[in-house]
Symmetry: D2
Subunit: 340 residues, 4 copies
């Protein structure tokens, strides 16, 4: 199902924001630098900031989830103009509704020397939110600053109420990555759904390919909400929030229609389920995974279901955005050879 011939996809590059010949790499390199002047706050149809051909490599960046507004002790959440400003959209030539867009993450680097953690109003698994409201007074606003050490590839947690510090290994990923939704919808940058979006998936990191359904001509790819590291569930509402620099390669799988985002690397196939409650996320991700195994690897649906009950992995990405996100996966070593 995910089979495609690279040769077909890697058409010669055209004009972009800035196109350079990539050395040993297939595809041209398109460079685009995002600033707060041209970020977006919805996934939807908008004027592309650059155009990519299948096989092209995109070098770009993202501001942090707060639009880089929080910089030093004393700054407050009221200084944030909008959550999750997005870089994009990028138009991918030849991508048409009914195709699948593949985005391979080649490199991600944390920009700057500091990340932010905060109790963002309305976010958090252990406090009342807009969609799980209660009558308690809200938790107090708190902001933590995480010094980033690029040499050791760590961020440092510093407790606010005691002297404790501890280093946390970096695992940079895009909290937001997605395409224009189907059916003429436009969705807020805080929402994850069928089009991807604010999935807060640590799987959106180097070495993995992300597949999205193409819903509009050109797919219209967006990304943002860089995370330097995050715990499962993102329970207090934020990761270590950072600006990112990224290298991504895009391709198009013609005529393959998927319903939800998927991840893949050399070792595993992974499916996304997003909504609430988490129970439904699990159901979505696993029916997707059963279907993927059935269609591409040839097990019957019930054999696939049984096998998953013995070897599947579930990664609860976040339970703090309007929709929650689960990734279900199986290692390829447990699967038959892929059908051709």
């Amino acid at each position: 199902m995910i089979v495609f011939t690279v040769a077909v996809l890697l058409l010669a590059g055209g004009s972009g924001a800035a196109v350079a010949q990539s050395g040993g790499q297939t595809g041209n390199v398109v460079k685009y630098h995002a600033t707060m002047k041209d970020v977006k706050y919805v996934y939807g149809v908008a004027e592309p900031v650059a155009r990519l051909k299948p096989g092209d490599i995109l070098e770009t960046n993202s501001v942090d989830a707060f639009g880089n507004a929080i910089q030093k002790p004393g700054d407050t959440m009221s200084m944030v103009k909008g959550d999750n400003p997005l870089t994009g959209p990028f138009y991918i030539e030849g991508a048409q509704p009914g195709d699948t867009l593949a985005v391979k993450i080649l490199d991600l680097q944390v920009e700057g020397n500091q990340g932010i953690g905060a109790f963002a109003p309305g976010f958090g698994a252990l406090n009342e939110t807009s969609y799980t409201p209660m009558l308690h007074p809200p938790l107090p606003e708190k902001i933590w600053f995480y010094p980033i050490d690029h040499a050791t590839n760590t961020a440092t947690f510093q407790a606010l109420d005691s002297n404790f510090k501890v280093k946390i290994p970096l695992h940079p990923f895009f909290g937001c990555i997605g395409v224009a939704p189907a059916g003429g919808e436009a969705r807020s940058s805080i929402v994850p759904a069928e089009f991807g979006g604010n999935m807060d998936s640590p799987e959106a990191s180097v070495g993995n390919t992300i597949y999205f359904p193409v819903n509009v001509p050109g797919a219209l790819l967006y990304m943002g909400d860089g995370h330097a590291a995050m715990g499962d569930g993102e329970v207090a509402g934020t990761a270590i929030e950072v600006p990112l620099r990224a290298r991504l390669q895009v391709s198009v799988i013609k005529g393959q229609k998927i319903s939800w985002p998927r991840f893949e690397n050399d070792d595993a196939i992974m499916t996304v389920g997003a909504y609430r409650p988490l129970d439904d996320c699990v159901r979505i991700a696993f029916t997707e995974l059963v279907n993927w195994i059935h269609n591409d690897y040839g097990l019957s649906e019930l054999d696939a279901y049984e096998l998953l009950s013995k070897v599947a992995r579930i990664h609860l990405n976040e339970m703090v955005d309007p929709n929650y996100v689960i990734v279900a996966s199986i290692e390829k070593k447990f699967l038959p050879s892929k059908k051709r």
Copy 2:
């Protein structure tokens, strides 16, 4: 909070089902062999099958989740007399309501050469169940047999609808382990809750210590539902179901009251949340973990909450029993030194 002096607990052994001096081990060894004649189907107050002193080592066994009723192709689920027959209860001397029972799992061995997987009626994340009923016809009954190879420590999945086979590494654990509930309740062996029970936690395996609230004199420990291996979520309703042989060591932490089961090993502390939907499991497990960190490691609650948002792990154990189970954890390397 979990600090206790082993010397205090390891009182000289008394009479049990069968007591032997343990060689280099602390505590006596109590042996008890369970058969289908004396299994139980509820966690509650019942005549103890043996008595243990704190520090004693229990050598026992469990029949499989089907009471060993499914043995060969052609056997059907209608032959199963009751789900999750339990070994026990074991009375632990000195355990009183308000204490904590600690059970360290020293050894677990799969008995026999075969495990079972099945679509158990009423179980399964992708089929209608008693508590998520629908109007569809149910999925057909299916049973998979998993040959166990003790030499390679693997079980083999054999597809029913194609020729595919694959080996799965063994990770034996008790699907059921728990104590008599609080407040005079008695609960079915298929239910996980505050008293533990059918948690289907792969964490109930060698090297880990499980903590339970003591609700009745003697705590009354039960175990069963052996699993040779299981995928996250146990999505089709069963693991590789097997009889087990076990060595466990029990101790009592006097005067420490916990609300939910906990796990601990050298590397991590782990808390259990059980109910439905999964959203509430997450909330329970994380408030427990915040409290544990706050009380034993001295971080403020809000610092603990923030730190977990950056480094916590979530393990979705099962979404198929009447209550669902999540384990939340943090590695000790991210925590301050334990308070004394």
Copy 3:
């Protein structure tokens, strides 16, 4: 399905706590007066306080949900020894597992001149609870006293923070009514489930018959948690909590097995779904209702499903106990004649 011949059931009364000939009524009258000395806190197998024959009328009473511990301003929730003390159990002669117990409520009277409302710790749809915990400070303890006026059949709400008062019409019902659970379970008096229990159903009131599955010999009927009036959802965690005096008539439907409690009166049939989230309550109650219509009124399951989509009623009884409760119903005027 619910057809039974009263003549068959109304065998001559035997000995009870106190048996009197009922005048024009069928069946003997058994009187039993409950006090805090002999209340129970679990639904389970216990020594019966009285025995009833099918057709007998029970005259009894219940203490309030707080064991009548809260009496005047200044009293606190810490004075409450246990939630929902239960009157019973009553043994119904001839009721055997696999039968259905029918309990018709003939009369309910509020005892005394005052009802209580309170923020009971751990209860409430808009505050954190044991099973939906959060990190907020809890809402403050508050107790409201509701003067009862028997002449006008009203209770009066008196605001604590302003001078506002308003009269509320009485609709007395048992918050708790249920039988011993199946499978050897014993369940807390705060839990509603398949055996009934803390359903907080205003349907448990005069004029309605309640059906319960019989799980143990004698069924073992309990009741308590009297409510003088309650809003849908019981959202703050309590109704107007009162002691009650009751007249009930019991009968047994031999050989009819039901899975969940049901209500019926001259105008409607009603089914109960209890668990969480509410979504699953709805699914349980409606599959029960589809089955009831299909089996007793002869519509196909899919016709019944469609018809319910046009005329069903849903009553959200409570969303504050450990399990939540929904009652689904259809008016008999929309149904075919009952099959005989």
Copy 4:
């Protein structure tokens, strides 16, 4: 809070699709006839089909949820081009973000002599859907036709699998009514959310006023998905689906910001909660209702919470759309006089 001076709002009418002087009524009458040529499938910013002034009366119509595509036995769901085609948008002069739009429903008439019920793919509380997927085969497609009798104001259910027929009283309402969402979002016509939309609220009927938050200039009002009658929960996925003719009056409450839709009539105030699971719908609707009572009627929040626990009503509108909908209400007779 909902106080406004009609005199201020009823500015002289301007140009519309068709403007006529309304006789004894305040405000002009604007007529707009919707056809399948100009329906919309998202709530969002689009070219207005007509403009209204506050106080104006709109006379318009809507096609049915299937775009009138299902007309006779043998027609299939595959003939439906899109769910819930919407009439609109209507631009309301003077409505600005931060205001509240009030829509009073003056008259609703079922058009034609037939309504439709169907198992719409992906909808239904007792079958698997896109967001609660399972591995069962789907329920078979079925369509029921409901003859409408305008003389008796009834529709007739006719069983497909037996000879049973029964009349159902008409209660016409808009399943869909809403405005352009906030934050630049555009949402499918099958979704209910903060902007209203596919709420399937029987409260959207004659005699009630609906309040919406104004998110964009002109508010941009849409309506559709006419229902002749519907059961609570709309459990099989459809009501009696019909085209409607409508008379509505719009007004604008300047400077009043609400977060979710609200209903009001002479007897009650009502709030909407929409998402999933239903638990969160209840939390949203009741925090909204507590706030409304607190702000407009002067009870403290905790007094309001307590009072609602005694007298509130909950109406489960639907549990079949992507988001579920609950309406919570309180009768005005239980409230203090409104603050001015």
